[in-house]
């Protein structure tokens, strides 16, 4: 790094604090929240469990503990929520590619984004990444004077990896030093690169994420599209811990960092493919050896040598001290030596073999399904050679050579060996930035609006989108749990973990909805304690917690998003269960591309929120029953009123869905109203 960079990077790393009083106030509130929260939950676990009704008592205290950890993680995020100073000016002469990822969005939408991307002021190249490979889109790109990229034939019969695959493909066909990634519905502002490239003068910076804000949100935000708390204090807090993460669009990435990820991922997969290929080869050689044992001892001896060489290679691979190239080179060498035992001076056999060899590549290409699994491929090719008895054992050895060669340097199971963007999840963005942080790269959250997005305009689309986010996040949680990732600081791991933890809220919500229903209907109390004592422990915590929320949000309205996060509990539960299923059984999730246009339909689709409607009905019935108990049956008034209040709160929370379901789409304000 040159001296000028060092100076600049120090400048970029330096943060201006927000007004002293507010950060201090937030930290005091965080401390109080944690203290009072621990006081409350400790008391709950130790002194209040109603063991007679453990089936509701335990779930409730577990749900409360879950929420408390969620609050603690939020507090930790807010502890470092600071506002960055403006970056240095963008250096001249850097090369940038702007990628617009599209699959099936309407032409007009992509055109609008592409035109805006083309007109970004900093010199760059613009590319439409058309995963739909539509001829019309190629024409539009030519018309606009921007580049057009679709997947090549190498992707046929191989995993496509959705948007991550689309971008990985484009990375291999472009060469800009930086990449700005845009969804088709995110219209960039002209200064987007001028305002952000300055950060990258610090050569440790790999990523700069900017907000995703929607320009088509109706007054009152009926679908809860606004994520101002996330694209604001939360990302700023993560940024404070150097854990601001990539959110898929409106982000600038350093190509070198992405390629480094891709190479590390390539090395890992070559290692594991070679491992399974060696297993397959051993099985194949064993089968040959049994076949030749009685027929030709010389051949059996050679095959024994090959078996030993394979075992040695596996051993070296497991120990991990020798480089793979050396292990495989020695292995091929030893297989050749063993082959010499057979060949000796049988020239007729050699000519025969050369003739037969030319048949092999065709055979291999004829069995594409097995290229995904090197060991299955080897076993199958072994069986094929074995069954055609007229083939010489040399050909059998040659098939081992060939099969090893397929996996020892290359990566036949993927369209391209280097996959820079992580493909372990349908939300490739989070997984990718976690790996970048793991390699020691730094990220930036730049909290200035630099692109105008379009949010879903109907409840069905909104629900699909939320489900996908949840699924993707939980896939990362199960596949590469941040807590066990080496290379990141503990704080960085917790920041990623915080996001994943919040997606478990669906299970807690079920308990929170059920508890008041169970009390009001049956008089069963999950807490063995008087109402007053409960209030004395719980209310102080709740008050500080809400104050923390209020100050941390800096005036951003959060009530609506709090309600959405509880009311969408079936979506979160499905996200968790389907992600776990996909990881356990290695089945792909059906990647749902969020429709970017309004889904026309006749009236509200109430069937989408059946569980929530059932809960609401149950709450109303329970409240009625509770009132009867209170006035006729002599139920505890304090406890009954507390639970009635809780039930009303739950109904208000669920009420947020009424607005979402009956929303009929965004009507842009007329020009007069704007003025």
């Amino acid at each position: 790094m040159k001296p000028v960079y060092v100076a600049a990077s120090q400048q970029a790393g330096d943060r201006s604090r927000p007004p002293f009083s507010r950060l201090t106030l937030i930290r005091i509130l965080v401390t109080l929240t944690v203290g009072l929260g621990i006081n409350y939950i400790f008391w709950r676990w130790m002194f209040t469990l109603n063991w007679g009704q453990w089936w509701i008592s335990i779930p409730l205290v577990v749900a409360e503990s879950y929420s408390l950890i969620d609050v603690f993680l939020f507090g930790m995020t807010m502890w470092m929520s600071v506002i960055r100073p403006a970056p240095p000016a963008a250096p001249a002469g850097r090369t940038v590619d702007i990628f617009i990822a599209t699959y099936d969005e309407p032409y007009e939408l992509v055109m609008r984004t592409a035109r805006a991307a083309r007109d970004v002021t900093y010199p760059h190249s613009t590319w439409i990444l058309d995963d739909g490979a539509r001829a019309g889109m190629a024409k539009i790109a030519a018309h606009l004077g921007v580049g057009y990229l679709a997947r090549g034939s190498e992707w046929v019969n191989r995993p496509r990896h959705a948007k991550a695959g689309n971008i990985n493909n484009a990375l291999m066909h472009t060469d800009g030093e930086f990449v700005l990634i845009l969804d088709a519905d995110q219209i960039p502002r002209p200064q987007i690169l001028d305002d952000t490239l300055g950060y990258f003068v610090d050569e440790r910076i790999a990523l700069c994420q900017t907000p995703q804000v929607f320009s088509n949100v109706a007054p009152g935000d009926p679908l809860g599209s606004r994520a101002d708390l996330f694209y604001g204090p939360i990302q700023q807090g993560k940024d404070g811990w150097n854990a601001a993460y990539f959110c898929g669009s409106n982000a600038i990435l350093r190509r070198e960092a992405l390629l480094q990820l891709g190479i590390a991922d390539y090395v890992k997969s070559v290692e594991s493919n070679l491992g399974s290929a060696l297993v397959g080869a051993q099985e194949a050689v064993k089968a040959f050896r049994l076949h030749y044992k009685t027929r030709d001892p010389r051949v059996a001896q050679a095959l024994r040598e090959v078996g030993k060489a394979l075992a040695a290679a596996r051993r070296h691979l497991a120990v991990g001290r020798l480089p793979l190239a050396e292990i495989t080179f020695d292995l091929h060498h030893r297989i050749d030596l063993a082959g010499q035992l057979i060949v000796a001076d049988d020239f007729a056999a050699i000519n025969d073999v050369i003739g037969q060899l030319h048949q092999l590549p065709d055979d291999q290409d004829a069995a594409p399904p097995n290229r995904y699994d090197p060991s299955a491929y080897l076993a199958e090719s072994a069986i094929r050679v074995f069954s055609s008895r007229q083939l010489s054992p040399l050909v059998a050895l040659e098939s081992v050579h060939a099969a090893l060669r397929l996996v020892e340097i290359d990566r036949p199971d993927e369209a391209q060996p280097v996959m820079p963007l992580a493909t372990i999840s349908v939300t490739e963005d989070m997984a990718t930035s976690m790996r970048l942080h793991g390699l020691g790269w730094r990220s930036i959250y730049h909290n200035t609006l630099l692109a105008d997005g379009l949010a879903p305009e109907d409840a069905g689309t909104m629900l699909t989108q939320r489900l996908r986010w949840g699924q993707g996040t939980m896939q990362v949680f199960f596949r590469e749990n941040p807590l066990s990732q080496r290379g990141m600081t503990f704080a960085q791991r917790l920041m990623y973990f915080a996001t994943m933890w919040s997606y478990l809220s669906g299970f807690a919500a079920v308990v929170y909805f059920s508890a008041p229903i169970i009390f009001l209907m049956f008089g069963i109390l999950p807490v063995a304690v008087s109402g007053w004592e409960f209030c004395a422990r719980f209310l102080p915590f709740m008050v500080v917690n809400q104050l923390l929320f209020l100050f941390a949000a800096r005036g951003i309205p959060t009530w609506r998003s709090q309600r959405f996060s509880l009311a969408l509990f079936p979506v979160w539960i499905r996200a968790c269960t389907s992600a776990l299923e996909s990881v356990l059984f290695r089945t792909p999730l059906n990647f749902a591309v969020t429709p970017k246009t309004r889904q026309e339909s006749a009236g509200p689709q109430w069937h989408l929120i059946r569980p929530q409607i059932a809960v609401a009905v149950a709450l109303v019935i329970a409240m009625a029953v509770g009132l009867v108990h209170l006035f006729a049956g002599g139920a505890d008034p304090v406890l009954t009123w507390l639970n009635l209040g809780w039930a009303v709160y739950n109904l208000v929370v669920l009420g947020v869905l009424i607005g979402a379901m009956t929303f009929t789409g965004y009507e842009p304000p007329s020009p007069e109203r704007i003025q």
Partner: protein
């Protein structure tokens, strides 16, 4: 894409300072001395030289990296591409004498799990391994060059990935 401009920015005005020198050291082994920057701009040149060498049936190649001041992931990819092409041709590609900077990049990218670096160009192909059994070589060469060209057309070109 303005490559020239980028390179000038990276490297104080020297547009392309990679040096490539080919020489034979022992029979069958070709030494390529690489000097300067091995990056986005210069890596394709190295890939071209490697494939030209392989086409002359000189399949055992040592890359002497003593003079390499900088390597990026494009450079690393040209090394893997070269290794793959050499193996497909029935030979091998080995690295020798990397500078500390290059060794660090190899380590950070974990590519040192695949490629070994030898201390000197002369030690890269010890005589006992360098001279491969002529029978095995003679048998395998035609088959693998076939497989190699099939792979190349499938992937587009030798400039893998």
């Amino acid at each position: 894409m303005n490559l020239r401009a980028q390179n000038e920015f990276n490297d104080t005005g020297l547009a392309n300072d990679m040096k490539l020198v080919t020489e034979g050291i022992t029979d069958g082994v070709v030494l390529i001395r690489v000097g300067g920057r091995l990056d986005l701009v210069t890596a394709p040149e190295l890939s071209r030289l490697i494939s030209a060498t392989l086409e002359r049936h000189q399949v055992c190649i040592v890359l002497d990296l003593k003079g390499v001041s900088f390597i990026d992931s494009s450079g690393l990819r040209s090394l893997i591409a070269g290794l793959k092409a050499a193996r497909m041709a029935g030979g091998d590609l080995r690295l020798a004498a990397p500078t500390a900077a290059v060794a660090l990049v190899l380590k950070n990218s974990t590519l040192d799990r695949i490629l070994r670096s030898y201390a000197t160009a002369e030690s890269a192909f010890p005589a006992k391994v360098g001279k491969l059994p002529s029978n095995g070589r003679g048998l395998r060469a035609p088959h693998h060059s076939d497989a190699g060209s099939a792979q190349q057309t499938e992937r587009g070109s030798l400039t893998w990935p």
